[in-house]
């Protein structure tokens, strides 16, 4: 018979406490254990109807369930940005209408505060991001299944981590999944100064792909051009420049015509970009700022063999909740951010309770950077 370790009741009790402390299971943890405070309630930005965020969003405090199921975790949100899609969702004009009342926010970083006994992959103190869209990230605390989160690198800057799951991932997938781009190839994108656009510029630079970046003409154009060039933009042109053949031909003398076009504007501007797409090029539509449809001449499809596809990060996330492609993407992006090869767009931290002014700024187009709610409790 193998030796059986026999412990007195007293010793067994001590070991049990130690094991549970190591597992950070606070229900059994004695008072002297240093533990994350488990709060009694959570604050959240919710809306009970669809409309302009500045009109319909309110702050609500709800009691937090104190017990966790075996595979659940309690998280404390650290920072959660406001993305344009969040606003569209609150307005009720997004493809997916959440059931009401709904908590806003899809992107954000949280810290694990407490784990249920069957939680395997996460531990207290880990940083996580929601693994699916629609989690509702504008809140202080949340309980979710282990499966609802992806662990991310804690060495990331918090504001970068808060924005990881939507914009950099959208840029990454659009460069990765449609056209086999090689160093020296080109891409053209409109809305180049959007959050996604800026990541497209940086990732393309990293991968030695030339970018032709289309922006709207504006008063401070030269500043914007300079800013995008700082990110690594090879060419920045205005929407009107696309029709100036001499100017554009100068570019095509220096770099090949784009194999990939990224469109988040639609309408005339998309058509103008299309005119510069290479034979057999692909145009990816991932937004429609003008809400105008795409107009494609048959010759583009038949004779130029150009293809048109859509990209929707929300669907990709649903279909790749725990895919290897997602893990390698998050790993790549985190490393690039940590190495300083990727920079997140300018952010404006806002206390969750100051939401009203934040949404008013967004509605008036007066925010000079991405608004990120920071949870200070």
């Amino acid at each position: 018979m193998p030796a059986v370790v026999s412990l007195s009741d007293h010793k067994y009790f001590i070991i049990r406490i130690l094991v549970q402390c190591l597992r950070n299971d606070s229900d059994y943890c004695p008072w002297f254990c240093v533990h994350k405070m488990v709060p009694s309630s959570s604050k959240a930005l919710i809306h009970r109807s669809f409309g302009q965020p500045e009109n319909v969003i309110e702050i609500s405090e709800t009691p937090l369930e104190q017990g966790l199921s075996a595979n659940e975790v309690l998280v404390r949100f650290l920072a959660s940005p406001v993305n344009p899609a969040d606003v569209i969702r609150i307005k009720g004009v997004y493809a997916i209408k959440p059931p009401l009342p709904a908590i806003g926010g899809n992107d954000g970083v949280a810290e694990i505060i407490k784990c249920g006994p069957d939680v395997k992959q996460l531990k207290v103190g880990d940083w996580v991001i929601p693994s699916l869209p629609g989690f509702g990230t504008w809140r202080t605390y949340a309980v979710g299944k282990e499966d609802d989160f992806d662990r991310i690198d804690k060495q990331l800057d918090m504001m970068t981590a808060a924005q990881l799951s939507v914009n950099p991932c959208t840029a990454y997938r659009m460069l990765e999944d449609f056209v086999d781009l090689k160093p020296g190839d080109s891409l053209i994108q409109n809305g180049a100064n959007s959050a996604v656009g800026v990541y497209v510029i940086q990732l393309a630079k990293l991968w030695k792909i030339n970018t032709i970046n289309v922006v709207r003409d504006r008063e401070n154009l030269s500043e914007l051009v300079e800013e995008l060039k700082q990110y690594g933009a090879d060419y920045v042109v205005t929407e009107d420049d696309l029709s100036r053949n001499e100017l554009m031909d100068q570019i095509w003398k220096q770099v090949p015509k784009p194999k990939l076009a990224l469109d988040c504007i639609g309408g005339k501007n998309a058509s103008d970009c299309l005119r510069h797409l290479d034979f057999r090029g692909t145009m990816i539509i991932y937004g429609s700022m003008t809400k105008q449809p795409l107009t494609i001449p048959a010759s583009s499809l038949i004779y130029n063999d150009q293809k048109f596809k859509g990209y929707w990060m929300t669907r990709w996330r649903h279909e790749n909740q725990h895919s290897p492609e997602k893990s390698s993407m998050l790993e790549f992006l985190s490393k690039a951010f940590k190495d300083g090869k990727l920079k997140s767009a300018k952010t404006i931290p806002v206390n969750l309770s100051d939401y009203k002014q934040a949404f008013e700024k967004i509605a008036n187009g007066k925010n000079e950077g991405k608004i990120v709610f920071v949870m200070n409790e």
Copy 2:
């Protein structure tokens, strides 16, 4: 030393003649050999400028080269149809403008009359079709390289063989190359009574794919519906029917929404077809009768994940001159025609010399079937 067969000069001469007779090399063939007559000239329908065929096409007779290079063949055309693309090419509005003067016709069947000494795959009497577009098939004789032709089954009906390389192949490739259609799936196509459309109906029927066929409303609609149903059409609807939700919903209760849409019309009708395309469906644009561009809402691309591609048979033929895909396609189609599983569209045989009336009929839309030039000499 191995034995060497020694022949007297006389015996050697006889053997040489016999070998050359077997090779059908008429230059050395004595008078008693039964051989195809080698003509001294060829008649062709040519145009020296671009314009309406009835105005610019003329018949021209040119002397035929009597000697053949080692890898050349002399062919006699038997029958060559007039396809819509031929007319567009003559008008000078096609993507490819031939150098002038040009011989019309891209489709047609010919018989091998004489082979150069290095010709390996073809022999006198074989039936062939041009392996590339733009050969100029509206003529009585032609000299080409062996490589310029594909041998086809001589047991095919001549009028079917004459039309083999364009329309049935276009239908075949569009069903084969874009969407993995399985028995029970559906497709929707506009211009369903076009030459290509009728082959789409028949091939889909063979492969147990449901077809929803869109045609323009007309006086004799019920006749057309009956005709298309004879070919195997599952549903025939008018362009206006596409907006009658109740009617269309009846169809979608019986068969799944189409994974594939084939568009040769463009404009509003293409958009109306698109509204019925399944989630993640693909629309293939292979023509543009209305010359109107395609208008695609961003939601179709982003949320419905629908794809838009073009198909151009001319390019496929250039890229697949001797591909295995082409061989297996021609084999499949020939067998299907011989077995009576595919029927070619109604044809009207016209003598090459009667070209003027033929083109006038086409211009006036008064041809009640596909005009096929028949070379009777």
